[in-house]
Symmetry: C2
Subunit: 352 residues, 2 copies
């Protein structure tokens, strides 16, 4: 990604120069953004609203691979995965803080591309960049984003409030982002073996976009309002469906029956899973990075969500003693285990 760019060395601008260069385009969109970049801290106003904050760190070589992730997409995704956490509280994101550490291998133009992605995501979701930190690293790129949102008092939706007999609902479809990653990893290997080979990405648009440019489900939060559906609990799907269901159930002290046949998976994802000799259900359960919303609703809201193309009822909440189970297509009941992406185990494998 770095080869074809103009290169202005970071040291030509210096830290303050770089900050100025990167932030001079910022226009504050939200009335609540009283003070943005340029002081010791940003100031955000509140009018009997609750402030919701979340933070995520992305590390080169662990969370992203610049051999196939364009920097603009990386910036976009770094923002949207944070916004997803705010929406998962039923809140509206309003501001972000952006910290980046980068080595001198990155020219200004590379960082601009990264920020172009950051600013595009902010524009698309009506969010202000109100601060951050920019520093150097000994190796690689690290991005930390803190997202700040607002929610009316009493309207936030937690993970630990699912109720027995609730319906378990997920937005969109699952597994696509993981299969997009498999395609990118395969093409990287092909490229490394023979740099003259053209990448074979035909028919992969949807799953590549799921991996490279995930969109948080702001629309689902709006849809639920329109449908007058009040989720009893909610979480976003970042580590895989299995892991998120276990979070909801463990924290709410309930059990769950999840039906394999109900799990929504896009046809492209199914097809690619077969190509990679993977079980599509496993991709959905353990793949992660789909950034869909998983939530529970009272049975009385069934009619409101039934048949909605954006929402799929995939199971129901039981008492704790029944456990958290997958009902497989053949009818077998299998206890669900978290096999989500685990940064430390992944690193361990890579090191060993």
């Amino acid at each position: 990604m770095l080869e074809n760019m103009n290169k202005t060395e970071l040291s030509q601008l210096g830290e303050f120069g770089l900050i100025k260069h990167l932030t001079e385009k910022i226009e504050l969109l939200n009335e609540s953004s009283i003070k943005g970049v340029g002081d010791d801290a940003a100031i955000i106003d509140n009018n009997n609203l609750q402030t919701v904050v979340s933070t995520d760190m992305l590390v080169e070589g662990i969370h992203f691979d610049l051999t196939y992730v364009p920097l603009k997409h990386l910036g976009y995704k770094a923002v949207t995965v944070n916004l997803s956490d705010i929406y998962a509280m039923n809140a509206q994101p309003k501001q972000i803080l952006v910290s980046i550490a980068l080595s001198s291998r990155f020219p200004i133009e590379a960082i601009e591309e990264l920020y172009n992605g950051i600013y595009l995501a902010c524009k698309n979701y009506n969010v202000d960049v109100v601060g951050g930190d920019t520093t150097s690293s000994k190796s690689g790129l690290i991005i930390n984003i803190t997202a700040i949102g607002q929610v009316e008092k009493g309207k936030a939706v937690y993970r630990n409030t699912a109720q027995e007999k609730d319906l378990l609902v997920v937005s969109g479809d699952l597994g696509g982002a993981y299969l997009g990653l498999q395609v990118l990893e395969r093409e990287k290997e092909v490229y490394q073996t023979n740099p003259n080979m053209q990448p074979d990405l035909e028919g992969c648009d949807y799953i590549l976009e799921r991996q490279l440019k995930p969109e948080p489900r702001a629309d689902i939060i709006q849809l639920l309002k329109t449908l007058e559906v009040h989720p009893t609990s909610m979480i976003d799907v970042s580590d895989g469906l299995a892991s998120e269901i276990l979070h909801l159930c463990n924290q709410s002290e309930v059990g769950c029956q999840l039906y394999e046949e109900k799990i929504p998976i896009d046809p492209t994802a199914v097809q690619k899973a077969v190509e990679f000799n993977l079980n599509p259900t496993v991709a959905a359960l353990s793949g992660g990075e789909d950034y869909e919303l998983l939530f529970t609703i009272p049975m009385s809201d069934f009619e409101k969500v039934k048949g909605n193309p954006n929402l799929t009822i995939i199971g129901h909440i039981t008492n704790k003693d029944s456990g958290v189970n997958l009902i497989a297509n053949g009818g077998a009941q299998i206890p669900l285990k978290a096999q989500g992406w685990d940064a430390f185990l992944k690193n361990k494998e890579e090191n060993s």
Copy 2:
């Protein structure tokens, strides 16, 4: 720092296990901390107060050197430098978010030490840890902290509101943290040449503490309230006095006369500067990391601060055309230049 510890590998706990392990001791201290660690985001209440947020990233090998910085001190400092930014807005810090990335060279016990420092700082300044992210890195330790504070509407103090004829005031003393760093660097070199040599730290307690365990000036914010002094502008001294004065003056579109003879420097710092063949004034102007508060007050408040042992009047604000000048001890007028610690230039030197 890592040699003498018990070692539990991170992979034994996994990401969720580590988060649980590190956060199970947290007790929320502030009524406004509605929801802490354990959901997609934290929730912070507001009662017609403004939320103030700031973030800082610390990178191993750039901002700290684990050969002489104990992990507990590092955790403590990572928090306090962020709180300093909140106080510099005349606000009260209330919550922090902590993101860390670490390689598998760090055992659990090392991370616990780091967090012990983080929790101690939070306890000392009545701040809650309400969230964060924990992940792995390919090399080294990266810490990103976001601090969130509150301030009454209209009470925040900015950088860009210094007025002509205001007095320029600084808390505490300057240059100590930089000279503490010089001592640590010297002893590191001695140790690398001869590991059997005992470090020569006698008489350095004060400046080492300034470097390793800086305290943000919460007391000064309180003092100013008690004295009924309302700063017209304020900033914390993180990059060196010269750099901060230039920020204040440039953003406020004013000039300044700074008197060398007035700059408060601790006797230990003066003595060590002489030992290192450094000009103490240069250490104060360019050293940084003192985390004192630099602010401007109306001339009418002169009697309120005069003779206060915590506060020193070091100059006064002039019109923009007069420039930003140091009046040296001999009487010469020298235009002030920012020679603050510059992460990129520093890295550049190290690489070259």
